[in-house]
């Protein structure tokens, strides 16, 4: 069974469109994250939710809106897509966020290409 799953795996779309990426974890974790990996493979956290509550909100354009319907799901909606949004987006989860040292489990990634 996949621990952290994301859909879709690939997303090719035109500039200006709106798209969503879905993430689900079956690990029973309380905390979920969205990361962006750019073309140089640099990984940067975008958001984190703990039990449906937004905990971390990095400097991300407000075109990006996360939504957590329950603690097993964290979706990412992107409005008015721009060329610079092309990247791999990873969802991750961990047991707790209120301490360091918790292993983060990453999904397989969603490869977004904006044309």
């Amino acid at each position: 069974d996949t621990a952290v799953s994301q859909t879709p795996k690939y997303l090719v779309t035109q500039m200006g469109n709106d798209k969503s990426i879905k993430c689900e974890q079956n690990l029973g974790h309380d905390t979920m994250y969205w990361y962006k990996q750019d073309s140089k493979k640099f990984l940067k956290i975008m958001f984190s939710y703990n039990n449906k509550e937004l905990i971390i909100n990095e400097t991300v354009p407000n075109r990006f809106s996360p939504k957590s319907p329950d603690k097993a799901h964290l979706n990412l909606h992107i409005n008015s897509l721009e060329l610079g949004d092309s990247a791999v987006y990873f969802c991750a989860s961990s047991q707790l966020i209120y301490r360091t040292g918790e292993t983060q489990y990453f999904g397989p990634g969603t490869r977004l290409l904006v044309l």
Partner: protein, 117 residues
């Protein structure tokens, strides 16, 4: 501001050799230092991690060396194998309930390791 600096960007090693990847950090509040391994087309996965109260941690062929005074840590892969070819990321985190860290991971830039047979 890049808080965790990783080097080298890429590394080529012969099978059986030692691979060494270095990281340096600035934030003295960091108290957890994991290494993640990422294969092409996959998400990163935890490889090994250390806390600053020890200077070394070994798991199989993988060892983290930690130098708190120098604010540096490194990953050593002994007897490197072609199957170790991947991108390796160092990371660091701290917990600050009053701020925005909440244990979030700050990653280094990554090192692409290629082990030739």
């Amino acid at each position: 501001q890049q808080q965790v600096k990783q080097s080298p960007q890429s590394l080529i090693v012969q099978k059986g050799g030692i691979s060494i990847i270095n990281c340096a950090y600035e934030n003295t509040a960091f108290d957890y230092f994991p290494w993640y391994q990422q294969f092409p087309g996959k998400g990163p996965a935890l490889l090994i991690a250390i806390r600053p109260d020890v200077s070394e941690k070994k798991e199989g062929r993988f060892t983290i060396s930690f130098n708190k005074s120098a604010k540096q840590f490194s990953l050593h892969i002994m007897d490197s194998q072609p199957g170790d070819s991947a991108t390796y990321f160092c990371a660091a985190s701290d917990f600050n309930a009053g701020g925005t860290s909440y244990g979030k991971l700050t990653f280094g830039q990554g090192t692409i390791l290629t082990v030739h047979p």
